[in-house]
Symmetry: D2
Subunit: 356 residues, 4 copies
């Protein structure tokens, strides 16, 4: 299905080379003053062609809101929106060849038909709708002091090992890689350019920090907050893994080292839990990582098969990012924003939690 | 919410020390011959007290099916079932103390009330319902040649590094750790006993392999198969991370190394993708890992706070597993079984995929 | 699917002659003091054998709550419950015959298998779960001054034509027919006994009044309050029609007669709208009618066919109500209670409606 | 929520005087050849200004499909679409006055904000999206021999009493009232013109017949086919009642008269059941009625209150239909088409129903 969220719900549509990408946002609070310029600015962070590290496809990606906002405020009714596709080069794509590690074959297996132009619905252009929905959620969350920040913490073998709390996250957007450590960012950028020059691609890791979430959000059992976040992140193109708090590192530790002791004021001495216990936020920062694979499209000739199973050679062409991480940042943020806002709206109960 | 799945849907209920754990399975195919003994056998794999590596809580965990099965066959109507709780020691639990890295505080923050006995709803006894629903799904999937197998690939610092394809997975249940490599299993067991003797606990990793899934299952965009699997796994108590195929390792690799070349017969030369491309199965094995943290309950006195924020000391007591991994195996399997069966039932379209 | 509601959600299970009927209630508010005796009392209103006007099947219908209630209060976790089936006479039912105007054939057409004993899942015993969920909702709504009252307004040709506002609704349960007009009730009872003596059955109409609903509940467009109520009512066995406010009579009226003029205090001079405008409650009473067909089971021999299409004669037997209306009352109430409570919980927005 | 359906799901958006009405259709089968001209033709049936019996608002209502259809066939991906609003006269509407029997007050009560221009989201222009989704469903159903036909069976006091089977339904669109009995249609038209000349409005009834539905569609218990149809119909603006088969008339009949005897071939001798038994289709025609109230907007000055509760006089103006029935026909059909197609797609099980 093409919908995400329960109370704050995005339904998206659009193929890469069709007329438009768009969506419907259902469930936003009424009476919310909306800065549409800020929504457009989020789209600009996701836009192709914003730096030489990203694909050369040129898209203005101008947002057109068709409903749900009246005289600058949300009505509580659904927000319909579209972004027209402009720079289409369908001739770049072979109608019959199955590209390796793309969704060409699987869409055909599922549907028996596919839009071969640029991956069709499987294209990352689909994430435009997510960024729009995330941007609306960000404005609603900001009123409650909740913020979501994502940065690139790994590109290929170059890692930013400092804990997020020791970084100046305001530096993230000061470089094209979106790593807040300038020295590491420079090495990441060099690594991307090096690999790009070889016609190859790189993966990496994005780290996300959510601050200001009150205790009590999330649902126990199947709707655990980490479960929702994991689903959100693994739904992003090229994502291969998710962990939160101590994450995979916790598998090799001991309980005596990794428990988060309680301190007066219902705060924890450490935050190995990652701000979530039993699926419910505990008031500490929520943080998690998302692993992305290298982009499957290489600037090299590829030996593959066509939809009849016959060998074919795909010449090097098309436009793509050598590394998705820089542009993944606003998408990871958007999904996190949607999950948190949805959890907030799902929280109808007035909890009488003890406070010091 | 306490439901999981779309077409094959489990709704579960029950607190650790309440009268029973149970659930309703909705959406199973009608006319399916069901072996209830095999369902009970899955519960026995999850049962506490099955070896000296697990908690000493004694529960027979006898399944009682109340509807939906008639003369040995499913009716297509919902299957209601319960498992009575028996060995309750509510006196083991302090009504006011907030245990570190447990859900005591967060449930209180969310609901303003909690069942303090053994974690109440947050207890892993809740997973009984999952194992039952998974066991029914396994029987439906077996008819189509689809199998799900999970094993323990890491306990603390002890890892089983061999790829799953080189292991004899039929050995998994031959040792109490549930690692199919006997030599590694022995070291894992020793590690657990060593840590247990110190009153401490260990985390680890479970690896799951799903074989026989036809190409075309899963939904694009928000319902990607990996997204559903990630949500399923992160909903399990103590899970901290999920990755599939190349996973987090893919973040440091290059596209030229990690692409899966197509071979005649619509098979891939390698399977770094992990059997899923664009969110949809491609007919290869699906495999993934789930990281678990060390159990938060230690056999040591704990300094913590109570629900008024006052310091309290919790004496060492209660019953728990020193390492959840052995008993996590049937739970990971159950969640995977539910996801795959649900995807299969969601697949109404007749796909005309080309085949050699 | 066997679930009803979004935020207050009942998932039910059980066949008429299986071990039990039961369900899971998900989404109830935490911390609600619950009177389980009052819940049982609602079941007693629905119970067979409560008067000579109802079926002779003897069922104590004792409620067993298995989770979600702790020390007399709701936990906010799901409430699992069961009611055992006791007085089973499966021998009363022919395994192969298809009874006219029953669900025998359609269940077979849908599932290819059926539980032939007493209609299996299609039996009205399934409504036990509804009554339980409604009874919990009633207690939550009572705290807000919202009440739901249903009475029998028609039995066969005998009608209670007075508007509900002129009736003393507290008299409803003072007679076995559940009509608050004693004189009409007596005629209805006589009519039922007359028809019963002929081995025949009667239909009728139930009228429901919901008082105390604040303005603003319900969802526009597809989730209109009347849409939810209609779905709820038509899901009851034997229901054939629903209308609210002016209802079918409005089809023959004129706008100038049927518009509800606004009065100071945001009250309306009349209430032809039935308390709902644009799908959203306006603060006036909500009222509606539900039409029920005559029970399909007659105390006469029936010529019909079997599941191979061959003619068969079904001898007169089995136990049934000559008219479902008296026992439909608590079921209609239960469904209305669930809809209203669900709408209330779905209402997260703080509306700033002008008030005088 | 602004979504309708489970497997075939429409999510709609748009205010009457905003930029556009639109929606997303999710779940349509892939590979379906689509005639977009036929979809536009359905919109033309719903369009204002199509005859002198309808509102004078002039809207071309041109459909623009933005995704999901490629080279004339459905991709299985979501179909995004918009219809621009053109003939807007926001000046016709008072920002503060609350019109009687409209949704002005209830939207304000729910949201604290409203788009006062032409009812905003509460306008019947929202049904454009329904007609589009219904038109796609019709093409999918036609391939299976399933047809949906609606006609006007009552306008004010003028009724078409003949059973649908004795009417020539192909005549429905030959007159502006959409009643297939020419003589009755003429009287209905005269009645509408008479009432219109008095500045008043009329209600009526639409009758819908669904032919060709195989046995076995629909879900037992809460998803009964009649329950889904009732919810669909009551979600239409101005609808006040729904009944199917014997409907409200069945309340005064007896079981011995109203049971549908089985005949060889699994056909019924009569069809008082209306083609549905136990919530599941039985292979006979499905038929039902929908009651509509008179339009609330009169061509008369109205004494009412404003959003501060102060008395105001609304002068006669605006554009509206004197009777919604003629334009309700395509909307009732659209909703029925969506329900039936959704039920068909929800039917994954291979039933082994016996056939003669």
């Amino acid at each position: 299905m093409n919908s995400f969220g329960r109370r704050y719900r995005l339904t998206s549509f659009g193929e890469s080379h069709g007329p438009a990408i768009g969506g419907v946002i259902d469930g936003i609070e009424p009476g919310l003053a909306i800065d549409l310029g800020a929504v457009q600015a989020e789209l600009d962070r996701r836009r192709p062609g914003q730096s030489t590290l990203t694909t050369a496809r040129l898209e203005a990606d101008r947002l057109e809101v068709l409903s749900g906002v009246f005289e600058g405020k949300t009505l509580g009714t659904p927000i319909g929106f579209i972004v027209r596709n402009a720079d289409q080069r369908p001739g770049d794509y072979d109608r019959h060849a199955l590209r390796p590690s793309h969704a060409d074959y699987t869409y055909l297996a599922k549907y028996g038909i596919r839009d071969h132009r640029g991956g069709g619905r499987a294209s990352a252009r689909e994430t435009i709708a997510r960024v729009v929905a995330g941007a609306f959620a960000r404005q609603a969350l900001a009123l409650r002091g909740i913020s979501v920040h994502t940065y690139v913490s790994q590109v290929g073998a170059v890692t930013c090992d400092k804990p997020y709390a020791s970084l100046d996250l305001s530096l993230t957007d000061t470089n094209p890689v979106r790593c807040p450590d300038p020295e590491v960012a420079a090495r990441m950028e060099a690594e991307i350019r090096s690999v790009q020059s070889q016609g190859d691609t790189l993966g990496g890791v994005a780290t996300c920090v959510i601050a200001g979430v009150p205790a009590g959000l999330g649902e126990p059992v199947f709707g655990k907050l980490q479960s929702q976040l994991a689903a959100a992140m693994l739904s992003i193109n090229a994502a291969k893994g998710f962990d939160y708090g101590m994450g995979f590192d916790g598998a090799s530790g001991r309980g005596s080292e990794l428990n988060d002791a309680w301190r007066p004021g219902f705060k924890t001495a450490t935050n190995h839990s990652g701000g979530i216990q039993g699926g419910i936020s505990n008031g500490q920062d929520i943080y998690f990582r998302v692993a992305f694979k290298p982009v499957a499209t290489l600037m090299r000739d590829i030996e593959t098969i066509d939809d009849q199973g016959r060998p074919v050679t795909l010449p090097a062409r098309g436009r793509h990012d050598p590394c998705v991480l820089p542009r993944a940042v606003p998408i990871v943020e958007a999904m996190a924003l949607m999950v948190i806002y949805d959890s907030l709206l799902s929280q109808t109960m007035s909890a009488s939690v003890p406070r010091t």
